[in-house]
Amino acid sequence: MEGGNGKSILQFAPFQSSVDEGFWHRLSSLKLNKFGVDDSPVPITGFYAPCSQSQVSNHLTLLAESLPSDSSEESSLLAVSRGNRNRCFVPGIIYNTNTVEGFHALDKQGLLKAEAQKIWEDICSGKALEDSSVLSRFLLISFADLKKWSFHYWFAFPALVLDPPATLVNLRPASQCFSSEEAESVSAAFNEWRNSSLTADVPFFLVHIDSNSHATIKHLKDWETSQSADDGHKLLFGFYDPCHLPNHPGWPLRNLLAFVCSRWDLKSVHFLCYRESRGFADLGLSLVGEAMITIPPGWRNHGHVPNAVGWELNKGRRVPRIISLAKSMDPTRLAISAADLNLKLMRWRALPSLNLHSLSSLKCLLLGAGTLGCQVARTLMAWGVRNITLVDNGRVAMSNPLRQSLYTLDDCLNGGEYKATAAVNSLKRIFPAVEAEGVIMAIPMPGHPVPSQEEQSVLDDCRRLHDLIDSHDVVLLLTDTRESRWLPSLLCANTNKITITAALGFDSFLVMRHGAGPCSSSHDSKTEAENSLSADMSNLGLTDGDGGKRLGCYFCNDVVAPIDSTSNRTLDQQCTVTRPGLAPIASALAVELLVGILHHPHGIFAEGEVVNSSNSGSSEQPLGILPHQIRGSLAQFSQMTLVGHSSDSCTACCGTVVSEYRKRGMEFILQAINYPTYLEDLTGLTELMKSASKFELEWDDGTDEDDDDLVEV
């Protein structure tokens, strides 16, 4: 760049900003708690230090401490008013707007001018002599989007413009400008200056070298007294230079030159850009130069404020910067990453084969949002399941919050919130990232005949249930009656869905997984077609593709069809009155059983295993054995694992029933609901009962009929 007299224009490396994440946190907190809608400017403090590495410039840094303290914080922490050798305090101001439009609409030219005026006034009044850091005053405009946790911001470092610009006479490393004696003395003087807490944070100073090569560092205000008759003396204006470049001084020199020329009317200024490395003055990195200044004519006029430049460029463009801190500030995101980390640790530590992705993408349908449903939902979330639908048509009653862990007293008021709704709200309060949905619907039940005017709505409910089951990966039957489990069991058998049943007695429980449906095969359909005989047999529900027997469902052991179990009972027989400890145990086992199925290579087709001494401690699967049924008794503090195979006369899952449903659909359902004996006839149970009663006269006490436990729960 050529100047008027053939010399080059002195070019300064712009100041660069650096913002610590803590600054944004504190700004957000202040905005939320203290400022509110008040967008008046707030004084802040920036920090900078001289360049300390030859490859990288230093920055003007903002930290959390740059902002005034949040009133809720202890003010005893770091109430430091002085800087130190690594932190020169620089005064600044922040304009934080309430809207992004407000941010873009700020009068940037005007704001810069206002800050430049402050600098100019400090120069004229002499305040800059007392506290030279005001020469580096800066401006920050910002908009904090506290919903998205992103921050728009723009720094300006006002520099008074010399017009015509200063020209550079020479600029060299300091080591080339001093004799070795001088250099040694200068280094020593600097180290003393930097080590003293009184001067370490003073960024502008004088370097005085007398004719005996003795150097001293002085304050700017000592300039007049430093003039001496000593011809050999050198007097340099020095400053902490954040810039590392070998051929350019840093930005703070601009206002220093403006100050020097306006105050002392110097035409030629010798300056020293102080830089250090590893804590000591580095005279190879530091620069010494001479600049020629022409004082702009307008500056002598009283009241005139020089022009200023200084908006920070963003990658060369004159645009603001944006930073998004959602990942580290948004509480929901933090909760998600903490939860994921927890599961990943489990995966590393104990269970390398844990398939977290299958759990997080799993869609779970919970039928029932009561004692079992609430506990199952919570435990599913702990496993990383994020997609949960709860179906329940009841309202939260006053006694519920004690046993149903998603509800509180508030849910019971005013007649009680719908359980499905309250449960979903509760899940979201626990973990905002959960995708939970509530469905308020009653499950049609056999033995509860439907009056004709309600037929349509019941059919709608059946279809709705069918669709719900279809659109989920896993169904958990957590209702409080036997008959309410019938239709879901049938629908699950029809679509071969993984189904878990949990049922409670007073002090006993059953947790089981339903076997595969009758129209399924563990082989591919290709193989099935090849082996048509086994395919036929599969269709009859006698065997699955492997030739083994299907595992049973909840109804496989029953010899009567589900009927109305709620009418004509006493109060304690109607509600499920159970020992409180039972539901959490059963719910936990239900979820663990589910996770076991999901990790088993055969999934729903996995065979049922039982606990025995040979497999305790060393099982083939990392999660342990995969039982079919778990029946437990609190009275005994005991638990049994059992296997039961499917019954060809099962009212819910046998081949006959499923194919009848496939043939006749809703008509079949309605018939089963209205006439429970229909199911018994259809499945041949009626015949079975007749033939069983024929044998009664010849009953022989010695033989056990079967091993299955026929106790209803």
Binding site: M1, I9, L10, Q11, F12, A13, P14, S17, S18, V19, D20, E21, G22, W24, H25, R26, Q53, Q55, V56, H59, L63, A64, E65, E73, L77, L78, H104, K108, Q109, L112, V161, L162, P165, A166, R254, V309, G310, W311, K315, G316, R317, R318, V319, R321, I322, I323, S324, L325, K327, S328, M329, P331, L334, S337, A338, L341, K344, L345, W348, R349
Partner: protein, 191 residues
């Protein structure tokens, strides 16, 4: 309590001695690199103050690989922040974004062992993602990382409460305390 029952455990006093020696050692032998600074704990009684503290190494700059600026929204044209044309401003070619690391070696009372905490960030305060940090790890650590991710490095996340806590920290438990504590082991500029 200074009774140590575990192999490899360190007392708080031993940590103090070793940490000071490590820092001094590094200044002497690795003078090309920025020094570790001992920072005494501010809030303890005078008696303990001398010995309680941690080692700090901050603003270590790693010149970046070009960082894709995910924050770059499409600006609707440049801001008309009018400024007079200024020949005195040096226009620099944009260099790839550097990232910065702060390291702190802190004595853990529960593990009875030094723990390295570090945080990494870009100049605008944006913390580095774990994937980006993995690229910066020294070769021996990267190898171990592939084998057993959470064996020696874990992430600590805290919502900031106060300036001193306003940092996300990642923690490495050093498997080889010799690297950190024995003063004669020079040339250690990795962690």
């Amino acid at each position: 309590m200074e009774v140590l029952g575990w192999v490899g455990a360190l007392s708080s006093r031993d940590f103090y001695v070793a940490a000071r020696a490590f820092a001094d050692n590094r200044k002497e032998f690795n003078s090309a690199f920025p020094p570790w600074n001992w920072v005494p704990s501010p809030h303890l009684s005078q008696l303990q103050q001398q010995q309680q503290g941690y080692l700090s190494l901050e603003r270590i700059c790693l010149p970046g690989s070009s960082k894709e600026d995910v924050n770059e929204e499409n600006h609707t044209g440049e801001e008309k922040a009018y400024e007079p044309v200024d020949n005195a401003t040096l226009v620099e070619t944009s260099s790839p974004q550097a990232c910065y690391y702060d390291f702190h070696i802190v004595y853990s009372d529960s593990y009875r062992f030094p723990v390295l905490y570090f945080r990494s960030y870009h100049i605008d305060g944006q913390p580095l993602a774990l994937e980006e940090i993995e690229k910066d790890l020294p070769a021996c650590s990267s190898k171990v990382l592939l084998e057993s991710k959470w064996a020696f490095i874990t992430q600590e996340v805290r919502i900031p409460q106060s300036p001193s806590q306003s940092k996300l920290k990642k923690k490495i438990c050093s498997m080889n305390h010799a690297e950190l504590c024995l003063p004669h082991n020079n040339g250690v500029n990795r962690t």
